[in-house]
Amino acid sequence: MKIVYLDTNIIISFLKKEDIFNEVSRKIMNSIILERVGSVITILEITSIISKQFEQIEFDITKTPHWDTLTLPAKKVLVTSYFLTITPIKFYFNLGNENYSVKDQIHKIHVDFTKSIQLSSFFLLKTINNLQIASALNLRDIQNIPIDYFVTTDNDILDQAKAIQEQTNLTIIHPEKLAEIEYL
């Protein structure tokens, strides 16, 4: 069994039937040789995308009891909750704070943020990309979840995959490459 940390784009591809990576994301989701994990930042991004793209979501409202009586925020929460429930991913939450010094004052900040700050010095990643990598590394290093691959279609991350792997020993991989080497 291999453990894969799924970036949000893989999960959104799974939601979007006509997406270029939908087929491979379904292979990843349905694979019995993979254990899929995500983090709180992933949930945050999924929630945000469903909320912003709500008009573009096809949802079986005729089979949904009381749909018409729900408020718009309730509808968005229902759709997001449904999607998170049916998507075969285990979401983990890194807990704990670490000391971080700013202007000679010690602050307690969340471990994903301290890790993300450390990574910023090494890579030129966008902030959320940085946080996703930080979350994956903390799942591996603090929660002892042996993550084999960080799977993404994000070019910003993929372009720096080699450097990230050399520095952190985290293997960044495109989903199609994963499907190829794991015979999905």
Partner: protein
């Protein structure tokens, strides 16, 4: 009930709609019409703003029911790819 006057500018079309509702007898006058419409809207906003826990409690039984449905459909039909949608969110 203590009341105070709130000067509000309204679009001509809105005033015409309110006047029509008065004409058909839905409201006795403009003041009461605007007050009742506002109260109704604010009651909904108040409901929305209560807190997310209320929403979760409300949707829980619905969610439990729909996850049992085998061929329940959910799909995102955006023209943008998943990669683009996620990447855009990360740039903002």
């Amino acid at each position: 009930m203590k009341t105070s006057i709130l000067p509000v500018k309204l679009k001509k079309e809105l005033i015409e709609k309110i006047d029509y509702l008065i004409k058909i007898g839905r409201y006795p006058n403009r003041s009461i019409a605007i007050r009742e419409i506002l109260e109704e809207k604010l009651a909904k906003e108040d409901y929305i703003l209560k807190n997310s826990l209320t929403i979760e409690e409300e949707i829980k039984p619905i969610l439990q029911e729909i996850i049992k449905i085998k061929d329940f459909k959910i799909n995102l039909k955006s023209e943008k790819s998943a990669t683009e949608l996620v990447s855009e969110g990360r740039e903002k």
